[in-house]
């Protein structure tokens, strides 16, 4: 290989790239802008910003002590933004996309719910009206309602409302067809609850006594597992990693298209007339794309560090080598575009589609863990998945160098595969 020619070609490519204002704008400004937007969208820095609450409405048609207790529980939930509206209002706001879920608590809900706690008859029905584009939020809201409803109903049934307890006792004692053993156990249970209530009512100031009714049998302490204790999750880390990978791939694609363009012109003829090998031409192209990619990666992560506090919490060496491996893969991808394409016009559309598919499947837009299981497995066949996972590992996950080895190896493997295919398919005759 002619090193003088190799150096000159790399230098030429770098000069052309950095003098091209459009390329620089696309490669640096665009990922910074879009990464900032996505980072903010996915929660920014946890603890420092407002996390989005789910807008929920309740239509309380019952107005009983139980339903009021339930509504108060829902209102106190940090994840929900509760409003009380009319049925018509709820309907129109959901249709307009202003409201995600509305729960209708029917008349006599309290009465029936308390009785249904002990006997599976006459269960009241809470209706959830929801925006079908927010299926995930519906499941969350339903879960939260279950918790607060159980607390409200059991508290009322076993505590504050002795009349309700007495009526239930009578119903159980007079129930025909109930298994006698079940009947006896239930009567004993209700009797014990009556005695407990009587004791509490006799001494209402007693401290340390639990409130009657069911409550969550555990408390929760949330701890994000990050690089170190006290570290906060920074969604900008993933967003900048993903957008960096996307625009680096775009740069690689452009490099491939430029090669196609050169092949149609005189420069390619002059290059091929010179006593330099094909390996020199390919190596120079891949090297220059790799250097561009590393510079882009460091500039956009530098911005994210200064503005959003994104840190390389893991191995700095791993991060650097990962950037190099992403660059090599990008160079190979560019060569593949040039190798498979015939003309710039015919290739551009397909190359953009391939790039966007790779970026999407790689989890650069939305994290790959949101994909269905089968898709998560399939996407390991896409180089961008390794790139994005690797960058996540080295930045906000704070993993060590050993976690970077597999992504680096995979990306270099893809680089070799892409470059090999490109050299095989490339029409050197121009």
């Amino acid at each position: 290989m002619s090193w003088t020619a190799y150096e000159a070609l790399v230098r030429r490519d770098l000069k052309l790239f950095f003098r091209d204002r459009r390329a620089v704008l696309m490669s640096f400004a665009a990922p910074i802008l879009i990464g900032s937007f996505f980072g903010y969208l996915f929660g920014g820095v946890t603890g420092s910003g407002d996390t989005a609450k789910i807008p929920v409405a309740v239509i309380d048609q019952d107005g009983s002590s139980i339903s009021r207790h339930l509504v108060a529980g829902i209102a106190s939930d940090k994840a929900l933004e509760l409003r009380q509206v009319t049925l018509d209002q709820a309907n129109s706001e959901i249709r307009a996309g202003k409201l995600t879920v509305a729960a209708v608590i029917p008349k006599d809900f309290g009465d029936h719910a308390a009785k249904a706690l002990f006997r599976a008859t006459d269960k009241p029905e809470i209706t959830f009206m929801y925006d079908p584009s927010h299926g995930a939020e519906l499941a969350m809201v339903r879960g939260m309602f279950t918790q607060h409803a159980m607390e409200a109903v059991s508290s009322e049934a076993m505590g504050g409302n002795s009349k309700l307890l007495d009526e239930t006792m009578k119903e159980v004692q007079g129930a025909n067809g109930m298994n006698p053993a079940d009947q006896k156990s239930l009567v004993q249970l209700l009797g014990s609850v009556q005695q407990w209530n009587a004791r509490l009512n006799a001494n209402p100031q007693a401290s340390g006594e639990p409130r009657p009714g069911l409550s969550m049998p555990y408390t929760v302490r949330e701890e994000a597992i990050l690089a170190h204790k006290g570290a906060q999750y920074n969604a900008y880390g993933h967003a900048f990693g993903g957008m960096g990978v996307q625009f680096i791939l775009m740069m690689g694609m452009d490099a491939g298209l430029v090669l196609l363009l050169q092949r149609q012109g005189g420069i390619w003829k002059r290059l091929r007339a010179a006593p330099i090998s094909r390996a020199t031409i390919v190596a120079a192209r891949v090297t220059s794309a790799m250097i561009d990619a590393v510079v882009i990666q460091f500039v956009i992560f530098g911005f994210a560090r200064v503005v959003f506090g994104v840190r390389v919490e893991g191995s700095m060496l791993g991060f650097f080598l990962l950037a190099v491996a992403i660059g090599l893969m990008t160079g190979g991808f560019g060569m593949l575009v040039a190798g498979l394409g015939k003309t710039v016009e015919a290739t551009r559309g397909l190359a953009i589609l391939a790039t966007l598919m790779m970026v999407m499947l790689g989890g650069a837009w939305v994290p790959a863990f949101l994909f269905p299981q089968w898709l998560q497995k399939v996407t390991f066949a896409v180089p961008t998945r390794w790139a994005v996972d690797g960058l996540d590992g080295m930045t906000w996950r704070g993993l060590g160098f050993d976690a970077a080895i597999a992504p680096i190896a995979a990306l270099i493997g893809f680089a070799v595969l892409f470059t090999g295919l490109a050299v095989w398919r490339f029409r050197w005759d121009g």
Partner: protein, 311 residues
């Protein structure tokens, strides 16, 4: 010395170049002449190693070109028909790149760069971006780029396409200087007047086939009609109106393009009056007439039956 032997290239059923052979010596300019699509560029591409011939061989100073990296390729420089320059870069950046492809570096590279810029008259524009150059300046830099490694053989594929007369003259002066220095030039063109000015040897190619290969004088002698009479007719007739002239004694060739009539003849004194008599007898009046010696255009017309520009 450049030896080309039996170069042959086919694309599917189309024979682009058919058994082209010639030899070009130091200090000699060989012109490859022919209309667009005749096979000139394909021939040059095979000589430069850009295209693998189906058969045939190219030898430079007795050595065949064996691989992409064969050092013998250093003896050859290529000036492609398309501008082979990066307009975003300066003239110096372009020359440094193309010099580096031939392993030039450091002081040697700078020396060669200064020399070629001086030769093509662009020394004062060396640091300017190529995109700010005129078409003629770009063509001169295109030539300079091929000279960076001081090649013995220079392949020039229509190097004056789209160039103004002043820049064309400047390029001719450069090429004449290179010839004086003993370089071998292979020059493709479809401008016959360029070939007449520059070339010692003329190879006429048509449909990929060599139809003439000799010195300029010898090629001229291939034409029986060494004199041409051009007549501007006021009232030419329907298609083929001039065919009757073929029967006039002494007329060798007849061609008409609109109002323009070109008649080739061996003896001007005897045949010209007979042609004018025929025109008068057939009711064709004329406003202007001129005569000249046969040129390469006429040679091509005689050999192929077509004009280079209409081919």
């Amino acid at each position: 010395m450049l030896e080309v032997t039996g170069l042959h290239k086919k694309y599917g059923d189309l024979v682009a170049v058919q058994e082209v052979s010639f030899v070009a010596h130091p200090g000699e300019t060989v012109g490859l002449l022919g209309p667009n699509g005749a096979g000139k560029t394909t021939t040059v591409a095979m000589i430069a190693g850009l295209l693998k011939p189906d058969r045939g061989e190219v030898r430079i100073q007795g050595n065949p070109v064996c691989s992409d990296t064969d050092p013998i390729k250093r003896k050859m420089g290529l000036v492609p028909q398309d501008l082979a320059l990066h307009p975003e870069l300066s003239a110096i950046d372009n020359l440094m790149l193309f010099g580096s492809l031939y392993n030039l570096r450091g002081a040697h590279l700078r020396r060669e760069m200064d020399a070629v810029l001086e030769l093509v008259g662009l020394a004062d524009r060396a640091k300017d971006r190529v995109s700010n150059f005129s078409g003629g300046m770009m063509r001169r830099l295109n030539l300079a780029s091929a000279l960076m490694h001081d090649p013995q053989i220079l392949l020039l594929d229509e190097p004056t396409v789209g160039v103004d007369p002043q820049s064309r003259n400047a390029i001719f002066t450069n090429l004449e200087e290179l010839k004086r220095r003993g370089k071998t030039l292979v020059y493709t063109t479809h401008y016959m007047e360029e070939a007449e000015r520059l070339c010692d040897r003329i190879i006429i190619i048509d449909h990929g086939k060599v139809i003439a290969n000799d010195s300029l004088e010898a090629v001229r002698r291939l034409v029986p009609a060494v004199n041409l009479m051009e007549v501007e007719i006021v009232n030419p007739g329907l298609d083929g109106w001039y065919m009757g002239l073929r029967s006039v004694e002494g007329v060798e060739t007849v061609e008409s393009n609109g109002n323009q009539l070109r008649v080739g003849m061996g003896n001007l004194t005897e045949t010209a009056p007979a042609v004018l008599d025929w025109l008068k007898a057939n009711g064709h009046t004329y406003t202007h007439l001129s005569t000249q010696r046969a040129d390469l255009e006429t040679v091509f017309l005689t050999l192929t039956g077509r004009s280079v520009r209409n081919a």
